[in-house]
């Protein structure tokens, strides 16, 4: 299995928000939601002096996605095809699932019930429930899979003014992301309480990484308190909604 991953180089990042806006434009992400966003951090003191850095954030396409765990939909068998080898893999997938070919955590919008369990579960706050739709659905970063499938890079990577976003397959030892993670020490945002194998990594000066972890590393095991509604409850709610409309 491949695993798409992204490294964000904070030495390059200037905190300009171009990534967030290119994503919004590409996928028409409604205001005020974000599939990807940027937070300003500092200026604050660190053990290495003052730091004023940025947190460009998005779905981490985790190795152990807790959003998938809490999704209440019935798993159904799906066939996934590797475009490189032509091989197929069959896997039982819920509405939210981790693609076994490329490691992307994705949402099957047709099957999403809009219950919001995955939104509450994500310790990074990377998902939102799109209330602008008649039937709200969960949404989040897909690493632009539709673009990847057509040989394009993710929209945020393409627009980044300073090429701070490096994208690739981390299982490929020759890839830039692999090198940056395994040789240059790019770090994913984890803590001793929360480590679910995120695949977005950050590279930067020691002081900036220190501030990033201090302010943004997740500590709450958010998924443990999520009570996903039973499928029945969701269906009843949906039927009621349709009835109200009629």
């Amino acid at each position: 299995m491949s695993q798409y991953a992204m490294v964000i180089d904070l030495n390059r990042c200037v905190g300009c928000h171009a990534c967030a806006l290119a994503c919004r434009a590409e996928w028409n992400v409604p205001v005020p939601y974000h599939r990807n966003w940027v937070e300003d951090l500092g200026p604050e003191e660190t053990s290495e002096g003052l730091s004023y850095t940025f947190f460009p954030a998005m779905c981490n396409h985790c190795d152990h996605p807790v959003c998938v765990e809490v999704c209440p939909t019935e798993p159904i068998e799906k066939e996934f095809r590797d475009p490189k080898t032509g091989k197929t893999i069959k896997m039982a997938a819920k509405a939210t699932y981790k693609n076994p070919i490329n490691g992307l955590v994705l949402i099957d919008k047709d099957r999403c019930l809009g219950c919001g369990a995955c939104v509450d579960a994500c310790p990074y706050g990377a998902r939102y429930l799109d209330d602008t739709l008649d039937e709200p659905k969960a949404d989040k970063c897909t690493f632009c899979i539709e673009r990847l499938e057509r040989g394009e890079v993710p929209a945020c990577v393409k627009t980044c003014p300073v090429d701070a976003r490096i994208f690739g397959d981390i299982t490929d030892k020759d890839s830039e992301v692999h090198k940056l993670v395994h040789k240059k020490g790019a770090k994913s945002l984890t803590s001793k309480e929360v480590d679910i194998g995120p695949n977005v990594y950050y590279l930067g000066k020691k002081k900036d990484i220190e501030l990033l972890f201090r302010k943004c590393a997740p500590h709450k095991r958010t998924w443990e308190s999520v009570k996903a509604p039973s499928r029945r409850d969701v269906l009843v709610a949906a039927v009621k909604k349709i009835r109200d409309k009629v």
Partner: protein
């Protein structure tokens, strides 16, 4: 002065003699055009859209872009991959241009005022009525009060067209860009006088070994090509020195941050210049061959010691020594950034940038990799289509608004003088204003005076895209097509890799919006001006492109942009010829000497804050341009309001916590209209507060921006005019904070040295 003012205006952008004019050699056009993408609207996202090349105008940096169109709607904006500066990239604002087109608050039709000025109550009228009314009033006012009773405030790509109309009417007040008098006048003048050309931030950062920024906050200021070069420089191992009272985004990436006392930059620079000369750190051969006035410089700066500068600037001697040694060790490959917005303190602004220019020359960091460089001259054809001549029988007014400012004519009439003349009728009455593409109430200091002037006018018209507060004062407002809906002029970029491109419509104008060319042509027709002959924009653009063997069609075949070969670097074995009086780089400015201005920069102290006050400074956020983008749905969502930066120790003493909301009050007792959230941080000097610029809109017609955040501009009521060209200062105001109804003094943690007098508040 040998360098005539007219000569200056004609050559401002280009180094003249040194560089041969450019023509496109055969073969350049043979490079394959990008394959036209097939329009397949079934594809997700922006994929499968039709690509239309154009030029961005979300800020004036004007990156080449591709508009992506599906079903007649623009769905996305990307960078033009052919562009050597941004390639396929655009910034946050560039990405959000779509929301400027589809902003429901847009001005849709020509309108006539029905309420009071400033209320923004209008009734829809026809284009014919609107244009007739403007022409009638322009002619009537000129007849009654003389041609110079008409004044234009302009900015941006459309400025050139409207300026021609005012020039054709014979007023001396036709080129008064706030962009000069409120922004880059001082730096432009300093570099023109030193190097003979307007530097326009041509600093080769990507090839530099050390970069030096004075207040320049690239990244927060998202001029994309420059941001790329700066980051490329760092990636190539360049060191960075930043002098800024605030720990800005580049300060975080810097090797040395110098938290300098505001208003003392020139002291540091003069001490550095002296240190470089005294310690033989300069490039003797370069100075000898290319510069004039070294001995006068040496004599003029000899009193400025490093110890003195450290005390005046409130910096550590060790740090400022380390910084200048770092620069000297890597000469000539050092990028001393010229800066852009330089209307800081009124007095001394030109000399501060003269110091930067002189230091650059001492290190020989001119037209070498890593230094400042000369733009490559590219001779466009000169279409006379849009050129309106001033009428021959018009005499210049006896007393000009430029009289007190020997170098004002380089730019136009100082905006502050236009406002004064409008308010007082002296030295002559100004009775009609045109305002195009600039929100003057958020640009020119003391908006209260500007509003007073607006009340006194006989007639004011505005050409705008959005109903800004400045537009709400207009008697007639004209809806302009925005940059994605129109042609403009030919854009020639003279940077490292020069290129030629054009702005062209990506989609058709919405509602009744019209292009600046069309509007100006219709005005010229009504005012019987002998200009705007060509049929349309396409014909005009083809005439402009003709001399470099291009046309609109040819350019579009090439993906909308053609790269040329640049000549940024000099031959180190030959003297360089520059466009100054002496033909040399002027360390001693002959032109300044002729006008009894200091030919060698001197330190003039800038008044320190009164006790209990901090200096108000401002800057940019990367998600907004001036006050122009605050109503953009997407950008508003990214950054709806600014935070006020306040030093952590000061905040503690005042009892203010991070996120507290306060009112700001200035030395003239003007208060911010809203509360502002405080960002308590160690990253700012105790004597300074910082507020991002452009928020706090007062136009109720801007439904998203109205009353969102606090405006810096409405707290800038005290300004000092620059003695060289009459620009007005923006960093000469002082503030206290009001929390829960109680006015709090700002405690003074960094004592002011006796050489720096304080501003005194007059007791009423």
């Amino acid at each position: 002065m040998k360098l005539s003012r007219r000569h200056f205006l004609e050559n401002a952008g280009i180094a003249a003699a040194a560089l041969a004019a450019w023509k496109i050699p055969k073969g350049v056009l043979a490079s394959p055009a990008p394959a036209a993408s097939k329009v397949a609207t079934g594809l997700p996202g922006s994929m499968g859209a039709k690509d239309v090349p154009s030029v961005c105008e979300m800020c004036f940096w004007r990156c080449p872009i591709i508009g992506k169109v599906k079903n007649g709607r623009i769905v996305k904006i990307e960078g033009n991959p052919k562009s050597p500066t941004n390639g396929h990239r655009v910034c946050a604002r560039g990405n959000s241009g779509i929301q400027l087109i589809y902003d429901p608050d847009r001005l849709k039709y020509p309108m006539k005022r029905v309420g009071e000025r400033g209320e923004g109550k209008w009734a829809r009228i026809s284009w014919k009525e609107a244009l007739d009314e403007i022409a009638y009033n322009m002619e009537k006012t000129r007849k009654k009060y003389g041609p110079s009773s008409l004044a234009l405030f302009d900015h941006g790509a459309s400025a050139g067209f409207y300026r021609q109309i005012f020039k054709g009417m014979g007023t001396e007040n036709y080129t008064n860009e706030p962009a000069f008098f409120q922004c880059m006048g001082a730096v432009s003048l300093a570099y023109v006088m030193t190097y003979g050309y307007k530097i326009a931030e041509r600093v080769d950062m990507s090839h530099s070994k050390v970069m030096l920024f004075f207040g320049t906050h690239l990244g927060e200021n998202a001029h994309l090509g420059q941001v790329r070069e700066y980051i490329a420089g760092l990636q190539n191992g360049a060191k960075l020195i930043v002098a800024d009272p605030r720990f800005s985004a580049p300060s975080n990436k810097a090797d040395i941050w110098l938290p300098i006392r505001p208003g003392t930059d020139t002291a540091l620079l003069l001490a550095w210049i002296n240190y470089v000369i005294q310690n033989d750190l300069y490039d003797k051969e370069f100075i000898q061959r290319n510069c004039k006035g070294f001995n006068e410089l040496k004599e003029g700066v000899k009193g400025y010691s490093m110890e003195w500068a450290a005390r005046i600037c409130d910096l550590k001697l060790h740090d400022i020594k380390k910084a200048i040694d770092m620069l000297a060790a890597s000469r000539p490959h050092i990028a001393i950034h010229s800066g852009r917005h330089s209307a800081w303190y009124g007095r001394g602004d030109v000399q501060r940038h003269r110091c930067l220019a002189i230091l650059t020359a001492l290190f020989g960091a001119v037209a070498v990799p890593g230094g400042i460089y000369f733009p490559t001259s590219i001779d466009l054809g000169e279409s006379d289509c849009v050129e309106c001549d001033a009428p021959e029988d018009v005499e210049e007014p006896d007393t000009s608004l430029k009289d007190n400012y020997p170098f004002a004519s380089y730019f136009g009439s100082p905006t502050a003088e236009i406002i004064k003349a409008t308010r007082t009728g002296k030295p002559y009455p100004i009775k009609l204003w045109g305002i195009g593409g600039v929100n003057i109430l958020h640009t020119i200091p003391n908006p209260y005076e500007t509003m007073d002037a607006l009340r006194k006018l006989d007639f004011v018209f505005s050409i705008e895209i959005l109903p800004t507060e400045s537009a709400t004062w207009a008697d007639i407002v004209l809806p302009e097509a925005n940059y994605l809906e129109r042609y403009d002029k030919v854009y020639v970029n003279h940077d490292l890799t020069p290129y030629v491109t054009v702005r062209q419509p990506v989609v058709k104008p919405l509602f009744e919006a019209k292009s600046p060319f069309w509007i100006a042509k219709e005005m010229a027709k009504r005012l019987k001006l002998d200009c705007f002959h060509c049929k349309n924009e396409e014909e005009y653009l083809d005439e402009e492109l003709e001399d470099i063997d291009l046309s609109l069609a040819k350019l579009n075949k090439e993906g909308g942009l053609v790269r040329l070969k640049g000549h940024p670097y000099r031959d180190p074995n030959k003297p360089i010829k520059v466009n100054t009086d002496s033909g040399k780089i002027e360390l001693f400015s002959g032109s300044f000497d002729d006008e009894d201005m200091d030919p060698i920069p001197k330190f003039e102290p800038i008044l320190a804050p009164p006790k209990g006050y901090a200096r108000l400074v401002y800057g940019r956020v990367p998600t907004h341009t001036f006050s122009r983008t605050m109503n953009n749905l997407w950008l508003h969502n990214e950054c709806p309001e600014p935070m006020l930066w306040l030093n952590e120790e000061v905040a503690k003493k005042m009892g203010i916590k991070y996120g507290d909301r306060v009112v700001i009050v200035n030395q003239d007792a003007y208060r911010s209209a809203n509360l502002v959230k405080v960002k308590v941080t160690p990253g700012i000097r105790p004597d300074t507060v910082y507020l991002p610029h452009g928020f706090g809109s007062r136009s109720p017609l801007l439904t998203k921006a109205y009353k969102q955040g606090v405006s810096d501009q409405f707290l800038i009521t005290r300004y000092v005019q620059d003695p060289f060209f009459g620009g007005s200062s923006h960093r000469t105001d002082f503030v206290k904070l009001i929390k829960d109804g109680k006015t709090l003094d700002i405690p003074e943690l960094r004592p002011v040295p006796p050489e720096i007098p304080r501003f005194e508040i007059k007791k009423v």
